[in-house]
Amino acid sequence: MDRRDFGRIVLAGAATLGAGGLAVPVQAAGRRTERVSKAHRKAWAREHFRGFENILVPSFTADLKALDEAGIRLDVRQSIAHGFFSTLCAPAALSLEEMKRFMEIAVDEAAGKITVAFAAHTDTDARMLDLIAHGEKVGCQAFLLDLPRTGDEAALAAYVAKFADSTNMAVCLWLSRQHNYARFHPSGIPFGLLDRVADLPNMVGLKVASIDAAMFHHLYERYGRRMLINCLVPGLMPVLIKSYGLQWSGAWTVEALQSPEKPYAVQFFDLMLRGKDAEGMKIYWEHVAPGFDAMGKRMAPMARGGAHPWEHFKYYQFAVGGNGGRMRTDPEHPELPHVSAEDMAYIRDSFGKIGVPTTQTPDAAFEVGRSAAAARRS
């Protein structure tokens, strides 16, 4: 596994969605829950999509039968403390009703301090419309739309428009090789689809799971003025910031590179955005690049075929203060392994090598989640 594989992992391992938020949460608080009209979503996104978006993975009770609300709230607070501009609610083995409740909890806890987005991924159009309507009602600002693997580009465009038109929320699209769009273009990018939807007023972003710089060049040249194209590979970020104005990255488990106390990834990206290359690259070499490499080596083998190793995401977050907790078996990828003791040791060691102290809380607390473990103790 190396960077190119890691590109796949990140892309596979993060059902992203972007949403808005400012670099400084306190200042942005009033903007993160505001109602923005569809017509103003592109301008809104250009102002708010700056920095990193992480993945908010649901927490469960010890028997895995219900959501752990306290655990979810802790992870929202952690996301704010990390300095992310947005957090994306991931539909990790949740029922539709659980997903809705998960989003409600996240928005409530965010209280305008961080944008809350969600991954729109259900099995029927009616349920998708239901989920999207709910997201808008409870105060989410954006969603990441996954796309069907079949159909021609006109049909895909109609699919996107159906959901985008139904809401004032910002919409981002997720593109990766697993979508099987090489039938449209050798790159795997469905240009015929993007040409049709890029001008939708609330089509604001593109999450591209690629390490191919030429692909980014092509996308920025063609859509860069209409959509905010993101990048999931830290090594590519400096040149894309400088050349094309890259301004956000997400959603992925950025926590693997930092902690709230040592927010290296956030600092790196912010410095590069401000043109402080020397300072940014110093952080890149000492913390970001080795952290990303270590993450890729552990996660890439699990992420093949589009799987999302949710429980491993949870452990990365737990190691730097997040709730943690075991995950339900993902019905779409039941082959995903649970986090092992060896995984835990590896991840803690990886943090140590990039100068990020890990939690003093014993790994036993991960079994039920930090909040539940604390409640038991008390």
Binding site: H185, A213, H218, V239, L240, W285
Partner: protein, 393 residues
């Protein structure tokens, strides 16, 4: 140089070659550097101050690797095969030929480069490696010999057995060789030098900051597949020396880098992965990027994309030990688009599925591959003369 089976050279194969590159004699260890450094005087005595201007005018386009061909059975240098490959390189639209080491004795190496130079005939520049030999004196002798022969400029290495702990020691070695020649010298930024002990990126920036100021240091080959590092190298050095992409995985970065830094050359690499002389995709793509005609360039990029994916997969597979570190498969790639092929010293194994995978990628990109694999095993030139593969004894 000890015998090796390196048919072609690139970022991954280089380290292995470097490891085999000794002519004998004592190893130049860190502690010995000082003693050997002062002995040789500066070479031919001419000024090198205009070398950077010369380089801006002449180091343009793509540099391809050429390795020696060998005769079936005897494994003697196959001069006709070398000539064929040089003609093929020129037909492919490349502007520079990098005469890579390939398991040759010193006299054979001289003869090999002579042949390459004869075929170049002013049509392309010829470059070579220096710095691989185990003593400073041997390296200086070699670089001066290359200069006399007519090599254009050289890519500088450090001997694999040279393990200094300070940038000063690396600088002194490099500087002594650079000062011994009037040729332009290219810095090789490569992860293969194990310099992570000096900087986490693997590039000792303090050293490079000094090297680029040497009058006849004219260029830098960026041999890392680390996009953040490319950014930093171009940011730091592209205004001082001709910084390039010398890493085949990064051909996709040419448009991005051109927008910011205007590189003008690439290599050395096995660029035949992406093209044939009849369909010189990569050369056309590169030239269009250099003209700023990005839209046309991208059209070609996607045409050659099946070959790009083939290259990435095989380069990446097993961290490169199967392809770019695999001289046999590299040899096959070159043969599949018209090169000589043939045996190489040390031997190699290529499986039928590997051959078919290459052919499928070529066909997907609209290139008709060479089909008769029997020709590959003895070399195209020999096969035309009626030579056939020997049966097993």
């Amino acid at each position: 140089m000890t015998e090796s089976n390196r048919r072609s050279l690139d970022r991954r194969a280089f380290s292995k070659l470097a490891g085999l590159g000794a002519l004998g004699g004592g190893v130049l260890a860190a502690g010995q550097a000082g003693k050997t450094m002062a002995a040789p005087a500066r070479g031919s005595g001419s000024s090198t101050s205009d070398k950077k201007a010369w380089a801006r005018e002449h180091i343009v386009g793509l540099e391809h690797v050429i390795g020696p061909s060998f005769m079936p059975g005897s494994l003697a240098l196959d001069e006709a095969g070398v000539r064929w490959d040089m003609q093929q390189l020129i037909r492919g639209g490349f502007t520079m030929a990098f005469a890579g080491p390939g398991g040759l004795s010193p006299p054979e190496q001289v003869r090999f480069i002579q042949i390459v130079l004869e075929e170049a005939k002013g049509k392309v520049l010829v470059t070579a490696f220096v710095g691989l030999l185990p003593t400073l004196e041997a390296n200086i002798k070699e670089v001066q010999q290359l200069e006399r022969m007519g090599v254009s400029h050289v890519l500088m290495s450090w001997p694999p057995s040279f393990l200094p702990n300070t940038e000063d020691q690396l600088y002194a070695f490099f500087r002594a060789i650079a000062d011994s020649t009037k040729m332009g010298v290219t810095i090789y930024a490569s992860e293969r030098f194990d310099f992570a002990r000096m900087h986490p990126s693997g590039v000792p920036f303090g050293l490079f900051d000094r090297l680029v100021e040497i009058p006849n240091v004219v260029a830098m080959k960026v041999g890392f597949f680390e996009q953040g590092l490319n950014f930093e190298l171009f940011e730091r050095y592209s205004k001082k020396v001709l910084t390039n992409i010398g890493c085949p995985e990064l051909v996709g970065e040419f448009p991005v880098l051109h927008r910011l830094y205007k590189p003008q050359w690439g290599g050395a690499g096995t660029w035949n992965i992406w093209q044939s002389p009849e369909k010189p995709y990569l050369v056309d793509y590169f030239n269009l990027v250099m003209k700023g005609q990005y839209e046309k360039a991208m059209k070609i990029y996607w045409e050659m994309y099946p070959l790009h994916r083939y290259g990435l997969k095989n380069i990446a597979h097993g961290f490169g030990h199967r392809f770019m570190g695999d001289p046999g498969l590299t040899n096959y790639v070159n043969w599949s688009v018209g090169g000589n092929g043939g045996p190489i010293r040390g031997g190699y194994i290529i499986f039928e599925d590997q051959m078919e995978e290459r052919k499928r990628a070529l066909r997907a990109a609209g290139i008709a591959p060479r089909e008769n694999d029997e020709e590959f095993w003895v070399g195209r030139v020999n096969y035309a003369k009626g030579v056939r593969r020997l049966p097993l004894a």
